[in-house]
């Protein structure tokens, strides 16, 4: 009722019409008769005041928009938001015009802001000029017009994808077609490769794999995964029609030879098993594509005088160089010899030791695996390291130790400094293991006196009871080094238990807290569809304690904290486990994470594979 009137300035009609989206208003010759009596009365009343025109326009708008709804209500509802909508539209248009002006050289040097019409006119001129400049792609009216010429698109693709198109015949892997971009990746020219057998360029160990991919009909079984149930479905050829297209799909990885080029190319490739004598280097490619039958008449049959069957099978793939994801260090840039990485269970027992360790500590990995790290720490450092151990289990950050001594195989000590980081399972939020990145501070060569002194001291000290705060040390209790770790681990387990509460959101809001913990009894049946969880190995002593534990003591920062694992740049990094911020992984509480997964599942289109319909593709050879 009260709508209208006040905002009826002379601008109003122009505003509504300015963006051109409203239908042309007929002005005062509005069919006022169409309005319900009540309304008409209002209008006439208001027409005495200013803004009658605007009201007419406004209502007409509303009339044209609302289909039989109560117009009075509509008017009220639309007035405010409508103005907002209009304003937004205008602002957007203005922004676009500004952007346009910024892109057009002719508009650049202007001192004052140009009006809309002028900018548009300049844009027209500019486009005309561009069209002329780029020549045939646009003057050719027969081809379908597109924003980019195909040549341009090709260049863009080349930039975006480190890959090439490859077509090989299935019987002998003859390269029928390979796109130019191969030279960028393998440093071999298109000419060199076309007509050759692909096997000449594949890493010897991958030949069988590729042979397998090429042989289609001979291979009896096609294994598909039914995305709905996750069960493998084995389909015998011929496949049912809906599966036929996915049956033709191929996806595999293989290593192809590339010719040596001095420079940064080498850094990109995965370690290969080529011996030193073999001067070839290989790069790993991901090949995805389809099997197709192509008429042999299109093939270059001059090379072989044999009669080919009328329909030849070939594989059409896109081969893409594997991205050396920046957290994946190429072998050439492994850590320096004075460093090594180990992994321990939360009680300090070694579960993983890198091979470099041997040169530093003298032990082979298998000699230390399963033993507690405390057995190697020097007496004097036990306190400090136990404290750090406790810290790292509770912290999401990297913990740096001071310099400490580590006993080597030969009895001497080497000075190390380490960074420890506890790995928390993103789903369960519990600490699963600790990763330790260790650097040698000074060489393992202590002076003879020191060595002798040290080992002697150790022998004496083991009789003493090191006093470590927080650990139970009753009178007469002999604390063995190894048990320190176990005690600290148990502390953690206790804290998990204490902090667990029904509401603190275990990761599975669908069931009781124990759901996510592994069931202790090992599974005897191994049905394919089984989803039982069996117990872990004995080294995972925390399993038992975890059965009772509910949610971890982690807070909503945990997921964010875990996400602070770096995808790190390689240059200058001594430790591959640098722990800076990963760009962009937002923080979620465990509840939110679970809900996010469910929601995304419900909403996400589970990609059922693409149908390969290539009927209309013209073969480029």
């Amino acid at each position: 009722m009260s709508a209208g009137g006040s905002d009826g300035t002379a601008d109003r009609p122009a505003d509504l019409a300015a963006d051109g989206e409203c239908p042309e208003q007929a002005g005062s010759s509005l069919p006022a008769a169409e309005l319900p009596r009540k309304r008409k009365g209002d209008v006439e009343e208001r027409s005495g005041t200013h803004g009658q025109q605007s009201v007419d326009f406004q209502m007409d708008d509303d009339l044209s928009r609302s289909e039989g709804e109560d117009q009075q209500v509509k008017m009220k509802c639309f007035r405010e938001p409508h103005r907002q909508i209009e304003k937004r539209r205008r602002d957007k248009m203005n922004t676009l015009i500004d952007e346009l002006a910024a892109m057009i050289p002719a508009c650049q040097p202007m001192a004052r802001k140009l009006d809309k019409l002028t900018v548009l006119r300049k844009a027209v001129q500019h486009l005309k000029a561009l069209k002329v400049g780029t020549g045939s792609a646009f003057t050719d009216t027969t081809s379908k017009p597109s924003i980019l010429s195909h040549d341009d698109l090709k260049h863009l693709l080349l930039r975006a994808v480190d890959g090439f198109l490859l077509v090989v015949s299935c019987d002998r892997a003859k390269i029928l077609f390979i796109s130019e971009s191969v030279s960028k990746i393998l440093n071999l020219s298109r000419l060199e490769l076309t007509g050759q057998s692909l096997f000449d360029f594949i890493h010897p160990k991958d030949i069988n794999k590729v042979k397998e991919q090429l042989s289609s009909s001979e291979y009896p079984r096609q294994c598909l995964i039914d995305a709905a149930t996750g069960v493998q479905v084995q389909v015998d050829a011929p496949a049912r029609p809906p599966l036929l297209s996915t049956g033709a799909r191929r996806s595999f990885f293989c290593r192809l030879k590339h010719s040596r080029v001095v420079g940064k190319q080498d850094k990109h490739f995965l370690p290969c098993t080529s011996k030193k004598k073999d001067s070839s280097r290989y790069c790993t490619l991901h090949c995805t594509g389809y099997m197709r039958s192509c008429p042999s008449s299109q093939l270059d049959s001059e090379c072989d005088g044999e009669m080919e069957s009328s329909d030849l099978s070939c594989l059409v793939t896109v081969c893409r160089l594997l991205t050396p994801v920046s957290h994946q260090p190429p072998k050439e840039l492994t850590i320096r010899p004075s460093e090594f990485v180990t992994r321990w269970a939360i009680d300090g027992k070694f579960t993983f030791v890198e091979q470099q360790a041997t040169t530093i500590i003298g032990y082979l990995p298998q000699e230390v695996l399963g033993t507690s790290c405390y057995e190697y720490f020097h007496q004097d450092d036990l306190l400090h390291l136990a404290d750090k151990h406790r810290q790292v289990l509770r912290s999401k950050e990297k913990i740096e130790t001071r310099c400490y001594k580590f006993k080597t195989k030969y009895g001497s000590y080497v000075s190390l400094q380490s960074q420890w980081f506890s790995f928390t399972n993103p789903w369960t939020k519990e600490v699963e293991f600790i990763v330790s990145s260790n650097q040698v501070i000074s060489g393992p060569g202590h002076t003879k006196d020191e060595e002798a002194g040290n080992s002697k001291a150790l022998q004496e000290d083991t009789k003493q009871i090191p006093i470590i705060p927080g650990l139970s040390s009753g009178l007469g209790t002999m604390i063995y080094a190894g048990s320190i770790g176990t005690q600290i681990a148990n502390e953690l387990m206790d804290s998990y238990r204490m902090n667990s509460s029904p509401s603190s959101g275990a990761c599975s809001p669908f069931g009781p807290a124990q759901e996510k913990c592994p069931v202790v009894s090992p599974l005897t049946s191994t049905s394919a569809s089984s989803r039982e969880e069996a117990s872990g190995s004995s080294s995972q002593s925390q399993c038992d304690s975890r059965t009772a534990a509910g949610a971890s003591s982690a807070t909503s920062e945990s997921l964010a904290a875990v996400s602070r694992i770096n995808i790190n740049p390689i240059q200058g990094e001594t430790s591959q486990l640098d722990l800076d911020l990963v760009p962009g992984l937002s923080s979620f509480s465990s509840d939110e994470a679970a809900m996010a997964v469910i929601m995304s599942l419900l909403e996400t289109d589970v990609n059922m594979g693409q149908s390969g319909d290539f009927e209309d593709l013209h073969w480029p050879f």
Partner: protein, 375 residues
């Protein structure tokens, strides 16, 4: 008094109408200059015309940098001068004949079409602000929206809000975090497609997970043209596994094995039973923990992921390089021992083995030691 006002209003209305008409004409002219099909041109609304014009100009500038058509730029300037003097310029002398250019173009067209089809993805050029400057026209196959509907819009309007931060970070050109210009990430985008592949309403759009890979292209002048070139591919779940160098596995949400197919025995030496309940993190090289964690997080947050290359330890010693493609799927059946209380979600992984066994005598982990001695 009233008549005066009427008259003034009528004049202003007429003026407004004239302005609008002129404006519409200019818009129409602009849209006709866009290299689009007539049917598309006629139905563009004004903001879209400007958006597409902007895209066109930006792409042109970008491509000049990429293909180095500097000569062409100066040529264009010349043409512009001619234009302004009012003449028409038909064709231009470029030193190559039209016929040659035409066949080149046709060839390029076939190749790029095929490339995009087989790649099963579309190309997208993103500005540093996230504007989708260009999308290859097959985008309609994946998103249900056409190239012209999307070009010029901002990608944040079409992606899942939880992924925005990650996308924003990827858009940054000179972040220290990045090693070189390469980009590789997973994001969720609106897909207005029905299950049968027909376009549907944006309102009923579902989230589609896309794997985006590409690189950043930094332009010095004008710097506003710097952008990200990416291919976006949906991650297919139904893999055809003909290869013996691949195995599938299922995991609970914390990445512990709940199932593994027998091929793993041939490839890595483990029996399927001994893997049940084991965490994948234990089976892999410590240095790859980051890679696995990122993969796991992607799965938890976005439901699909590609892991990149990492090392899996072989039973008894050594390791192999692998890459896993995984997805979170609803598990259908409740577990038998605990009916009614089931994990509704599990992770399905397809793992490709990339290399042979490296350093087979190397014992790196506790598992390998144990197994060695037990043999």
């Amino acid at each position: 008094m009233k008549a005066d006002k009427e008259k003034r209003r009528m004049i202003s209305r007429d003026a407004a109408r004239r302005r609008r008409r002129v404006e519409s004409e200019v818009f129409a002219e602009l849209s006709r200059l866009l290299p689009l099909q007539q049917s598309v041109q006629d139905h563009l609304d004004k903001p879209s015309v400007i958006r597409l014009t902007l895209s066109y100009i930006r792409m042109h500038t970008l491509l000049k940098g990429i293909t180095g058509k500097k000569a062409e730029a100066s040529h264009a300037v010349k043409c512009e001068q001619v234009m302004e003097s009012g003449e028409e310029w038909r064709g231009c002398d470029r030193g190559r004949d039209d016929e040659e250019k035409k066949t080149d173009d046709v060839e390029a067209s076939e190749e790029t079409n095929m490339f995009l089809r087989i790649l099963e993805g579309f190309l997208i050029v993103l500005s540093t602000e996230g504007d989708m400057i260009y999308l290859s026209d097959n985008v309609s196959k994946y998103m249900g929206l056409t190239q012209t509907e999307l070009m010029g819009h901002n990608i944040f309007e079409f992606t899942h809000p939880c992924d925005h931060e990650e996308i924003r970070n990827n858009l940054r050109l000179t972040a220290e975090v990045w090693c070189g210009a390469k980009r590789d990430f997973v994001m969720r985008i609106k897909g207005a497609l029905t299950h049968r592949g027909r376009s549907s309403n944006l309102k009923s759009a579902t989230w589609k997970v896309l794997h985006c890979q590409g690189r950043a292209k930094v332009c010095v002048a004008p710097s506003s043209v710097s952008c990200l070139l990416l291919t976006c591919q949906p991650l297919p779940l139904s893999h055809t596994l003909l290869s013996t160098h691949t195995f599938t596995s299922q995991h609970s949400m914390d990445m512990r094995f709940t199932y593994c197919d027998q091929r793993i025995t041939l490839l890595l030496g483990y029996s399927t039973e001994e893997l049940l309940g084991r965490s994948i993190y234990d089976l892999c090289h410590t240095l790859d923990t980051n890679c696995l964690t990122k993969n796991h997080l992607n799965l938890c947050l976005k439901s699909q992921s590609v892991s990149g290359q990492y090392r899996m330890l072989v039973r008894g010693g050594g390791y192999v390089w692998v890459e896993s493609h995984s997805a979170v799927i609803p598990s259908v059946r409740p577990s038998k021992s605990r009916p009614g209380a089931h994990q509704p979600l599990c992770i399905l992984c397809v793992t490709y083995v990339l290399s042979g066994v490296e350093e087979p005598s190397l014992q790196l982990s506790l598992d390998q030691t144990v197994h060695r001695y037990l043999r």
